[in-house]
Assembly symmetry: C2
Homo-oligomer: 318 residues x 2
């Protein structure tokens, strides 16, 4: 009888592995180690396998009780096994990572893109549990996304499904970190919102936000902007309105394409809560067809810090 599933969140700096209870989606135990990708693929996955074996021993879990391991990585993944390229690691292209880890771990392994699996985790045991058509958004440094259609993750032909942060909301608009212009994340990610605030603060410092950051632009975080706006600072609320308008534009476009039943929003920007999302919902009717707005729910992500591990584990579950 399977009772557990392993989830691994492979990041540029750290890799976090956890043992997840299949019935509840709760993390029983987890631990992080340095990724040290420069030591090579074999070395990294040897250490990951050792880490998992150590966690299993610690909890007296036999491998016969483990269904398998899911792995979320920062890069495009195809067939739930092959990473076409690693954005941040000096590893070769088209590596069958599932096979590499399966041999070391002696368990079935499935691999997914890290942004995609976060949505999968929310659909398995989080805010979208029980829903079959889910759009997940993570509003952080960038905008990540994941799409679940009829319970299945949309990987995409080259593993780049749901790169929604790079849909263009302005032709030849603001420069994005990807090198292209007008990307959604250049407007509505934490980075995009901070950029807009910096631009505005250059011409107007007579506002609460400027005081909140101690008149030091380097202290500025998205949270300051939302906090000042909630305290009635018109200057800051205008910036929130700017972000909300682009959030509605991007979400509206995705509603018209995918017509999901629920949108799960996570990441730092989502912590602004209803203050932000009430504004987004108000704007949405301008951009989404009414038929795609019917009955759709916009909810906050639930998995928090465990999202990467639980999401990776979900690769084995749905």
């Amino acid at each position: 009888m399977n009772k557990y599933v392993v989830g691994i969140d492979l990041g540029g700096t750290n890799v976090k592995a956890g043992i997840v209870d299949e019935a509840t989606g709760k993390v029983v135990v987890s631990k992080s180690i340095k990724t040290n990708s420069e030591k090579g693929v074999e070395d990294t996955f040897d250490r990951i396998a050792n880490l998992i074996n150590e966690l299993l021993n610690e909890k007296n879990i036999d491998k016969s009780e483990v269904k398998g391991a899911g792995l979320g990585i920062p890069g495009p993944v195809i067939n739930f096994e092959t990473v076409t390229f690693f954005a941040n690691f000096p590893w070769e292209r088209n590596l069958n990572i599932a096979k590499i880890l399966e041999e070391k771990l002696e368990l079935p392994v499935k691999v997914g893109n890290d942004a995609n699996v976060i949505t999968l985790g929310e659909a398995w045991m989080g805010a979208a549990k029980g829903y079959k058509n889910v759009l997940g958004l993570t509003l952080g440094t960038g905008i990540g996304g994941g799409i679940v259609v009829e319970g299945k993750l949309v990987e995409g032909f080259t593993g780049a499904g749901a790169e929604v942060g790079h849909i263009k909301l302005e032709a030849d608009g603001r420069l994005c970190g990807c090198g292209q212009k007008g990307c959604w994340e250049a407007y509505s990610s934490a980075t995009g919102i901070i950029r807009e605030a910096v631009l505005r603060l250059r011409v107007n410092k007579n506002n609460l936000l400027w005081e909140k950051i101690n008149r030091n632009i380097n202290e500025l975080e998205a949270k300051h902007i939302f906090d000042a706006a909630k305290e009635g600072d018109k200057f800051s609320e205008d910036i929130v309105d700017f972000a909300a308008r682009y959030l509605a534009l991007g979400i509206g476009n995705l509603l018209n394409v995918l017509n999901p039943e629920v949108i799960v929003v996570g990441g730092g920007v989502a912590l602004a809560g209803d203050f932000l999302f009430d504004k987004v919902k108000k704007e949405l009717s301008k951009y989404a067809l009414s038929v795609t707005l019917e009955g759709v729910e916009i909810v906050q992500a639930k998995l928090g810090n465990d999202a990467g591990v639980v999401g990776a584990a979900a690769l084995l579950e749905i």
Copy 2:
């Protein structure tokens, strides 16, 4: 042994039914009658069932040789059976059309949105045969779309999946027939392209296009614009560039969201051929991430006038 499948294309004015050979996707026989939706649902489907029985008799095909009937309709469809509302007919909401026709026809029936099933048909036996991740676009009066992921049609939660003509490419941009602003089809459909030409012709009549339409704005069709541009008319080529830029912007956004392996483009505007699509492809690298452009093919639709019937039949096949 099943050898045939019925396809029905239900339009506002006419309904066309055809018998399709399962092995080849070819239409063996087809016939159109008036829809006359004002006579009511029962009357319309009685006449459709009679039409199909007549076609089967004509070809001496027994119902035991027919797998079932697919029906494409202009409206949102859920569970391949229920039409949530009819855009053009005075029929009630949430009708289980599959059940209504099944009883009359004594064959299994599946229902799909008309724009969606065109893509399904191309994936079954047309330009996208053999592909599992397909985006279909029909550039005509509007822009219709269909999305196939892992061989399955994306219906959407309320049946409005792939309403891609209404993604917004300009916030608060040009007014669209849907009542919203900035929709893709307000720029790159035949209607959108003609509108742009009309606007430009009001201020400049010193061009080949004006001569081609016999100095009569009412004669203007999209074809005139493409023809004049191909003959070297700079005024007309600028309009084509305008349409191509918005086509690339819309297609680029869909590539970043869906990462399909093939895009099938049909409809009147697609007849402009490589002259238009070479321009679109050139612009695409500004809007689509390079990973979503890798290996993707953009091809012309193949099913032509049979697209509606063959697409509807495909509902039973994939």
